[in-house]
């Protein structure tokens, strides 16, 4: 099994994800430059964080219109798991693989800090190793993480349990004070309708070893690997 790490000009969390997959989880991973068009050899893909194309136009917009995204869509159609982290989440919404849009933070500031997340569903390739309702610690680092979708979309997403993580306090309560960016319903991560594509603003690769202050993030990668092994 090999997992693709999709790279654009301006990706900068690619090596962290590579380290986590190879050295911590212990699976094969390969960095793939955006000019490649054939991703058939991969069992899953991760679009890491960074500032693709300088975040010009809108975060993720230019990357989402590159040919490799068509290959990522093909993987998604085939049921392979795709995870977009931070800028990767922005790329997935801009490409239409996920609902909604990521707008500038409500208080327009770059926020880089630890957040508490509540696991909203374990029914996905990325969250099966968690317990529903569990509170985990994962850091964020973004300027445009304010999740927006219109009300009809949002309510359909709630009905289908497509929200994977929400920003909460230590006790697991959803409050405005702990919402770092103004996201609707404190949403931090979501799934597509087929549940095999997830985008999230927090960085699980930065919380994948206890030396970093938390290893809660490792279970997202482990869940993904287990899902691939069982397909």
């Amino acid at each position: 099994m090999t997992i693709a790490i999709i790279e654009f000009g301006g990706s900068n969390c690619n090596l962290d994800v590579l380290h986590v997959l190879e050295d911590v989880v212990g699976v094969d991973a390969e960095r793939v430059w955006y000019k490649e068009t054939d991703l058939d050899r991969f069992e899953g893909a991760i679009i890491p964080g960074g500032f693709s194309y300088g975040d010009y136009l809108r975060s993720g917009a230019i990357a989402s219109r590159t040919p490799i995204i068509n290959s990522v869509k093909k993987m998604a159609d085939e049921g392979k798991p795709i995870m977009g982290i931070c800028n990767g989440f922005q790329i997935l919404t801009e490409s239409g693989l996920l609902n909604g849009a990521l707008m500038t933070n409500k208080y327009p500031k770059f926020r880089c800090e630890w957040t508490n997340l509540r696991v909203e569903t374990t029914d996905s390739p990325f969250t099966s190793a968690f317990k529903e309702g569990e509170v985990i610690r994962i850091p964020i680092a973004h300027m445009d993480g304010n999740f927006y979708a219109d009300e009809a979309t949002l309510s359909a997403m709630e009905d289908e349990k497509l929200v994977t993580f929400r920003y909460v306090d230590k006790e697991g309560r959803v409050t405005d004070e702990v919402n770092p960016n103004g996201s609707q319903e404190n949403i931090a991560g979501i799934l597509n309708g087929k549940r095999n594509v997830m985008g999230l603003m927090p960085h699980p690769e930065r919380a994948a070893e206890s030396i970093l202050g938390s290893n809660d993030g490792i279970r997202m990668f482990q869940s993904m690997v287990e899902y691939i092994n069982n397909r």
Partner: protein, 82 residues
Amino acid sequence: MQYRAEVTIELKPGMLDPEGTTIKRALEHLGYHTNELRTSKRYIIDLEEESAERAEKKVDEMCQKLIANPIIHNYTIDMREA
């Protein structure tokens, strides 16, 4: 023919515009009251086409494919001969 399109992209009405809100607040610190302040982005695109209609159609495609995000934006195109 040479045409120049001025494309204006703005957030849909009612959507939060943190940049506009911050500028409005700063103006208030300077003593200027505004009822509303919204930001927009303008792109100036020069292109060669057979007619104004074709040029406008091209620019509209560009807006739909890349320049605007239909979930959050409205846009207008102002086209003239360059």
